[in-house]
Amino acid sequence: MKNHSVEILLCEDNRRDADLTLRALEKRNLSNKVVWVKDGEEALEYLFAKGEYKERSINNSPKVILLDLKMPKIDGLEVLKEIRTHPETKNIPVVVLTSSREEQDIVKSYEYGVNSYIVKPVEFNKFIDSVAEVGFYWLLLNEKPNN
């Protein structure tokens, strides 16, 4: 594992939610390699090393992506679709982290190849537990396929 490799890409438009997520990860000591992007467009720019992130190496993929569905410009489902259609990104585990309990959102997410789907609970402690669980699982337990 290289020093500067990003471990978690957090796509979240809500500042508070992002902050709380970061804090939740911090409380489980998972916050050291998190990058926060504020919408779908930025997420794609980051992943495919464009715009603001053109200096970045495209091969330095995050180990897991935490993706909010309701985002301005490009929404989470579209981002997910893009991720799954490109060979450089298609194997990155994606966890949808959203307040939507809409069945349609869930179905679509799985259709587009999401790895986990987490409904953000109101209670902070439960939220921490959920985020930490996902973080642990994908970062520490799940071995990426040969990459």
Binding site: R16, D17, L20, S99, E103, P121, V122, E123, F124, F127
Partner: protein, 717 residues
């Protein structure tokens, strides 16, 4: 043959047109034969004189005939029709007359034969005769049943010309005042004659001569006819032969039935009998019509109008009823023309809706001006039935072109009343001058009355249907609007609750962080306040979650399938036990059936009901919860019950039990959002079932819900 001139004998025998021969009664030998016999049998004189009479007979009949001849008395004369064979062996039918004669002192027999019409011809005649009898029988029946004399005349003309293979036939009505005949009905005559042409004076025509002589008069060849002179109609049609007979009556004869051919033709006795029979049938029919008693006529009118009434009540096809009405008018009154006219008020016109006797293309198109002195227009104006006995001498109006064109002389016109205004006119007309009796007038009025009622009924029904349809449309529209509004409301409440969760999560998150990370920097009161904020936030979170799931219920499709209820209940109980580890509730579960429903939703129902049973427990005793079911045979539904021994509630608040956010307990007593039972009710209602409760304060509550045995279709209430 003493004293007879030999020359005369030759004349009588040798030149006799009938075949003759003489034979010896003992040897049966032919002794003499005449020319006619030779011609009939095809033998030469020598050949025939070498024969015995037995040689003329068919072989198989010889013994029988010999026996007969031997038995005969001497004077025997008429031997009847015999089968003979000619020289070629062909069969000849001969009528035999045999007489004893003495020739040169010898006893002999003289045979006179008559060649009977050949078999085939005879057969044909028989067939023709049978056909004639059949025709007479049919027409006789028709005459008995019907009242429409005109169509009987027409039918007669048709069958006469058909059966006798003649070009022409006619029924002539004798008009005593004018001493002439009117061509009432006929076939073959050029256009324009039937119904109009008059023949006379009587002494100069075939018909007139027939009427005078009171006998059927046959003309085999008009060129040679000298008994009567003027036959302009017959001349015009190049008639060569004909047969005419009187249509008799008790007083003045009705007229003459005559048939003619464009070829010279011999009419047989059978033909004469045929024509006479038909003339008698027509006579009987015309007499019966005039002799029918008032009572009989009324009865017939009643039967006819009742039939129309029956038909009218059952049908909503106005045209069919009109057609039936005009038909029975024509038939019953014996008039040629009947019609129904619809008033077109804007046009001052009456439209011909239905009619008998009129040209087909006029129906639905012809219009009669109500102002221009029409019969119908006059009836409409006077608002009462109008009878015309003779249009020619009528002064009140002149009659429409339609009447004039069809040579109409008399008739009745009656107004048909619709709901408020007249619908139109029903009328019937005849080409004859005629008076109409009171009962006939009543008959036409009855028909008009029936028609008016039918029109009103059918229009009312149509109106009703139209209104119904409009109402349906309105309801449909409202329902759609309501559904739309409902959907908007749902998506609104969904979005609101959804968006409320984010700030709530922030409030809870940061107060939690404060409590965790700055615990030591806040004093005890501050900690309490933060805890209160935290608790309230959680409560609001639950509230929003419940609201979300409640609103989601409306948008979810039901996924119905068969499943067993017991495992679902067991699973729910496990879950509740885990959620309430300190309570240790006791469950008692009866037999549960298999149902057809959405298992996920039904699971939610059990969770809510069972957790309520635990939640609202009486603090003084351990919860005892009984789950049961039974089948309601009458309503074909399963009824499930959850009985607890909890705190219960006052039944006067039962109405509030299932309302959204309605609660019967304060949060201090029992926490809750007031969504649970509302959700239960919504799920069960959507399944076509019902939810209800029985309770007694401090004794316990029993919650019931029912599920239909079969769900017809998923409701969306």
């Amino acid at each position: 043959m003493e004293g007879t001139d030999l020359k005369n004998i030759d004349l009588l025998f040798e030149d006799n047109p009938n075949p003759m021969w003489v034979y010896s009664p003992d040897e049966l030998k032919i002794l003499q034969v005449n020319k006619a016999a030779l011609a009939l049998y095809g033998y030469s004189r020598d050949e025939m004189l070498s024969l015995n009479v037995t040689d003329l007979w068919p072989k198989e009949e010889v013994p029988k005939h010999i026996k007969e001849i031997r038995k005969r008395p001497k004077e025997f004369n008429n031997a009847g029709v015999w089968k003979h064979n000619d020289k070629d062996g062909s069969q000849v039918l001969v009528r035999i007359f045999s007489n004893p004669v003495r020739i040169e002192g010898e006893n002999c027999r003289l045979v006179v034969a008559q060649n009977v019409t050949p078999l085939k011809e005879a057969e044909r005649d028989t067939k023709l005769r049978a056909r004639q009898q059949e025709v007479c029988a049919e027409l006789g029946l028709k005459a008995l049943k019907g009242r429409d004399i005109q169509s009987l005349f027409e039918e007669t003309a048709r069958v006469v010309s058909d059966t006798l293979d003649n070009d022409y036939c006619k029924v002539l009505k004798y008009l005593p005042n004018e001493d002439s005949f009117l061509l009432k009905a006929g076939i073959g005559w050029k256009k324009g004659h039937v119904g109009k042409t008059k023949i006379g004076p009587r002494k100069q025509s075939h018909a007139g001569y027939t009427l005078m002589s009171e006998e059927p008069i046959i003309v085999n060849d008009f060129e040679k006819e000298d008994r009567f002179t003027d036959a302009f109609l017959l001349d015009k049609h190049n008639v060569k032969s004909g047969l005419a007979t009187v249509i008799p009556s008790t007083e003045t004869p009705y007229g003459v039935l005559a048939t003619h051919s464009s070829v010279k033709k011999v009419f047989t006795q059978d033909d004469i009998v045929f024509i006479k029979t038909l003339a008698n049938i027509l006579a009987a029919a015309t007499e019966r019509m005039s002799a029918e008693s008032l009572a009989q006529r009324r009865a017939r009118h009643q039967v006819m109008s009742a039939e129309l009434g029956r038909k009218a009540v059952k049908s909503d096809n106005i045209k069919a009823i009109f057609d039936h009405a005009t038909r029975i008018l024509t038939k019953t009154l014996g008039n040629k023309y009947s019609k129904i006219l619809e008033l077109l008020p804007e046009e001052d016109a009456l439209l011909l809706k239905s009619g008998t006797g009129y040209d087909e293309e006029l129906i639905g198109t012809a219009k009669i001006d109500t102002k221009e002195g029409s019969h119908a227009g006059f009836a409409l104006l006077g608002d009462k039935p109008v009878v015309v006995e003779d249009l020619e001498s009528e002064t009140r109006f002149k009659g429409s072109d339609l009447l004039q064109k069809n040579n109409i002389k008399s008739g009745v016109s009656v107004v048909i009343y619709g709901k408020d205004a007249p619908y139109g006119i029903v009328e019937t007309h005849s080409t004859e001058k005629k008076s109409y009796s009171e009962d006939e007038l009543v008959f036409v009025e009855t028909i008009a009355h029936f028609l008016g009622d039918t029109i009103k009924r059918i229009r009312a029904e149509r109106n009703f249907k139209r209104l119904n349809k409009e109402l349906e449309k309105k309801v449909e529209k409202r329902t759609r609007e309501l559904e739309k509004a409902n959907k908007e409301l749902e998506s609104f409440s969904y979005n609101v609750s959804h968006d409320l969760r984010a700030p709530l999560r922030a409030i809870d998150g940061y107060t939690s962080l404060l409590l965790e990370d700055y615990y030591d920097d806040v004093d005890e009161d501050g900690k309490d306040f933060l805890q209160i904020v935290n608790d309230e936030t959680k409560r609001m979170g639950v509230l929003i979650d419940d609201l979300l799931s409640f609103s989601r219920m409306n948008r979810k499709d039901q996924k119905l399938r068969h499943f067993s209820m017991r495992p679902v209940v067991d699973e729910c109980i496990n879950e509740i036990r885990q959620a309430n580890p300190d309570v240790e509730p006791h469950f008692e579960i009866g037999e549960l059936p298999e149902v057809y429903a959405d298992p996920r939703l039904i699971r939610q129902v059990w969770i809510n009901l069972l957790s309520n049973a635990v939640k609202y427990r009486n603090p003084d005793r351990k919860p005892e919860i009984k789950v049961n079911s039974k089948f309601d045979k009458e309503k074909r539904r399963y009824v499930f019950s959850v009985e607890d021994n909890g705190v219960g509630f006052d039944m006067k608040y039962v109405d509030k039990l299932f309302g959204v956010f309605q609660r019967l307990h304060s949060d201090d007593e029992f926490e809750g959002t007031g969504i649970g039972l509302a959700l239960v009710q919504k799920i069960i209602t959507r399944h076509g079932g019902k939810v209800w409760a029985e309770s007694e304060l401090n004794r316990g509550t029993t919650m019931y819900f029912s599920l239909p045995e079969k769900i017809e279709k998923s409701g969306s209430k």
